[in-house]
Each structure stands twice: as C-alpha cells, then as structure tokens.
Amino acid sequence: MSWITKTLTSSIGRKIIMALTGLFLCTFLVVHLIGNLQLFKHDQGAAFNTYSHFMGTNPIIRTIEWGLVLGFGFHIFEAFALTRRNKAARGATGYVSNHSEQNSEWTSRNMGILGSIILIFLIVHLYNFFWRARFGGLDKMGGDNPETRDYDNLYMAVVSSFHIWWYVLLYVAAQISLGYHLWHGFRSGFQTLGLNHRKYTPVIKYVGYAFAVVVSAAFAAMPLYFFLFTNDQGDLKAAIASPIMHAVASAF
C-alpha cells in the first residue's frame, strides 16, 4: 500500500484529496439547499419536517451520510496538513514587504481563514440542528396527520434559532465566507484535478462564480427571512406580509 499513501501524502496528492472532497461537498450543498428550500413553504413546516424525517431515517441517506462525514473530515484534515506544510515552505524569515494583493485575489490567498469560519459555523450548526435531531431534544410535530404526528419538529427549532440575532449573524457571516470559499474553491477543484482546457475552463470559472453566489445567497436568505419577516411561529409578520412576500413565499 505504500505507493498509495505516498501518492496521497505528496503535495499533489493532498491537493487532489482537497479537490475531490471539495467538489463532493459542493454536491452536498446542492442537495442540502434544495431540501432546505422547504423552509420557505408556507405550511408551518410540514414539508420541511417530512423532508428532515426522511433524511434522518432513510437507510441510503444514512449510509451516504458517512461519506459526507469522511468528505468533511478529509477536507479539513488535508487543509490543516497543507497549511502546515506551506507555512514551513516559506521558511523562518518572511517578507518585510509583500504586496500579494497586486498579483492575486484575496479569496484565493485566504481559503484557510474562510474555511475556519465555516468550520466554526459547522460545529454550531451541527450541534443545534443535527445533534438535536439525531439524538433527541426536539419536540414532536403533533397535529392531526397520523403519518407526520411523531416527526421531530425541526422546523420550529429552525424558526426559534433564527430569531436569535447573534445566531443569524453567525449564519450570514458563515454564508459570506462560504461564498468566497466557493468562489475560489469551485474552479480550483477542477484545476487541481487537471481539468483545464482552453475551451471549458472559462465556463467552469463562471459557473463557479454563479454557484458561489447562488448557494451562499440562498442559504443566507433562510435565517434572514425568519429573522426579518416571520413571527416566532414561522408565520409571516402581518405588517410585512406584503403581496410581494406572499408571492415569493408561495412560489416555493
């Protein structure tokens, strides 16, 4: 097995793991986002809770979940490993004057910081929703539908969390970080895998930019929506429930 470990711990090998896990996590973001869009459905969380129940109990999803854990795990581990290696490569004495802003994008140089913010968010996020959903501590949905009556009411947990200002702030900050992280990370993943072509690379780059903006904006819209526009039951505030908001909300 030595050639495998040697390959995967080489500078390029580590980068390839970063790229593969990163792009895999991008697909996770898409699934997660589509599911979470249920939050905007104007049904006191029925659809969202059904979805989260499915995600929490379906054996296929539960299996894939382990892949996700590994994806995150390797992405984070390799990030630390690479950062250590790269810091050491500069040597003990750094530059007195370094104007890297004149030759590269801030995002590209600060993936570590962006990633760290996302990691902090991830821990809070996992504890608040995933942990409680999986290991108890959430109220049941109740209601008349016998099928959904015993489902965890994750929706209410979301609504109440998103009425805490600092929580909303953390979420929004994390999504901005995620946006920047993806801004660089998406196209970077392709580059690392060697998928660079004069025809397609410009397309990949702009798809990456669009992906970064749409995904992070959509995720950030969730806490903002509940914080700004709904009451503590998740219903639109009467005063703000303008026809436009109705239109938007019912569109989902």
Partner: protein, 261 residues
C-alpha cells in the same frame, strides 16, 4: 544624460535593502540613499550605482545575482516592493527600468524567501533545488549520436508552440517567491508539460512526473493552492494551465504506472 529623453529628471531614492552576511547569520533591512538616478537606468544599474558608492566609502557592496541583463538567463531575482521582479508585468529585474519609479520613492529590496532557497548573502539565494528537480527527470534520455532525423516525427505546430511556451521558463524562481506557499509547481509543471506535450517525451512520461514531483516535495517547496500569483508574476508568462497538466500527468502516472515504490 538620458538617452531617450534629454529632459528626464534624475531621481533621489531611499532603498531598504536586506543585508545578511552569510547563510547562517541573521539579516536585517538597512536603509540607503541613492542620488541622481536616471530614469533610463535599469534597476540593476541603479544597484550598481549604490554598490560603487558603498565601495568608495569602504563598505561592503550589496551582493545580488545577475548576468545577462536582458531577461533570459534567469539569474536576477529580487523581491522589489513586495513583488517578484518588481511592479512591472512580464519583466525580470534586469529589464525593469527606473522610469517606473518616481523621485523620492522608497524601494524595499529583499531576496526570494523560501525554505528551499537559502540566502547566500544579502540578496543572493541558492536555487540549486531547481537543478535537482530537473535532474530527477526533466529530460529525454537520449545519448548523443543515436537520434533519428529531425523530421522523422512530425509534430503539430500547435502542440510544438505550446511546448515551446512551457519551455521558455527561465528558472528564476519568481513563482516560488511570489507564491504564498513557496510552491515550485509552476516551474516543475513547465518542464513536465513541455515534455508531456512532445512525442519525444512520451517514453518516460510516467516516471518523469513521479520523480520530479517527489524531488520537488523533498526539497521542501509548498503545495499549490491555485492562487495564481506565480503565473501573474512570471516574467515570461508561463501559464497556470501547465499546473493542471502536471496534476493530470501525476494522477495518470500514479494510477497506471507499474511503479510500486
């Protein structure tokens, strides 16, 4: 005595120069003043003025590497005002001219910084790590004498041109110096893609990339994180596409070669 413009005003400049006596001593920034610098001077000619001044005063001149002074040998290697080879795009230090600066400017001059490029003295660094990477596989193994006729293998012009573009790397190390990670991937990739593109390089394609990457890692260069500073600062415009090719070659070689080591 400006050649191009008789009215060009001479400049006075403040230089913050890294001084370090030797490999194992610590260094520091020392401030110098240079006067009556013509805008038509090259940056190294400006340093010549400083050194002649220092020598006349009995001080030790600033050591720096340079040779051809026409941008092709890759000897010169200064980190000027926070940039590899200074502020002008596509230019080596020797081809940077003082008209890019203004009277009264303060210019900070440092050596390349990388663990794999230890400082010899002042601004001179040891770049032999690059040589060792080439020695690990940056060649086609043909002995003198056995070559077939040059026109035996037609090579599409487009491929040949792309190989040429990669082959123009001057080995100065600006990529390593500019990279946040002190990564040498642009340098390595330029040679790997040159020889991966050309049919002559195909025989040793897999071992070449495996060995060169292994040597690169052994030398202590960082890993590429696709920031792009290297290509932006490369005086001869080596493209990031080469790094993608390197990654691809590496992946393909590791996945398919019979090398179990």
């Amino acid at each position: 005595m400006a050649g191009s413009n008789p009215n060009a005003k001479p400049m006075n400049l403040t230089l913050n120069v890294w001084r370090q006596a030797g490999r194992h001593t610590s260094g520091k920034i020392v401030e110098y003043q240079v006067k009556d610098i013509s805008p038509d001077m090259s940056f190294l000619e400006m340093l010549d003025v400083l050194n002649e001044d220092l020598l006349r005063k009995g001080d030790d001149p600033v050591a720096f590497d340079h040779d051809c002074r026409e941008g092709i040998c890759g000897s010169c290697d200064l980190f000027i005002n926070g940039r590899s080879h200074g502020p002008e795009k596509g230019t080596t230090t020797c081809q940077l001219h003082m008209r890019k600066f203004s009277d009264g400017d303060t210019i900070t001059i440092e050596p390349w910084r990388a663990n794999a490029f230890p400082v010899n003295k002042d601004l001179s660094v040891d770049r032999s790590a690059f040589d060792r990477i080439i020695q690990a596989g940056g060649y086609v193994s043909v002995n003198t004498g056995g070559a077939p006729d040059g026109n035996e293998i037609p090579i599409p012009k487009e491929i040949s041109d792309r190989a040429f573009e990669a082959a123009t790397c001057i080995g100065c190390g600006a990529c390593v110096a500019a990279c946040k990670n002190a990564s040498a991937m642009l340098f390595v990739s330029a040679k790997v893609s040159q020889l991966a593109l050309l049919p002559q390089g195909h025989v040793e394609r897999k071992t070449r990339v495996e060995n060169m990457v292994a040597q690169m890692d052994k030398e202590g260069f960082g890993a590429c994180t696709n920031i792009g500073s290297c290509a932006a600062e490369c005086p001869v415009g080596i493209s990031l596409e080469n790094i993608a090719i390197l990654n691809r070659e590496f992946l393909a070689a590791k996945a398919t070669s019979n090398n179990l080591a």
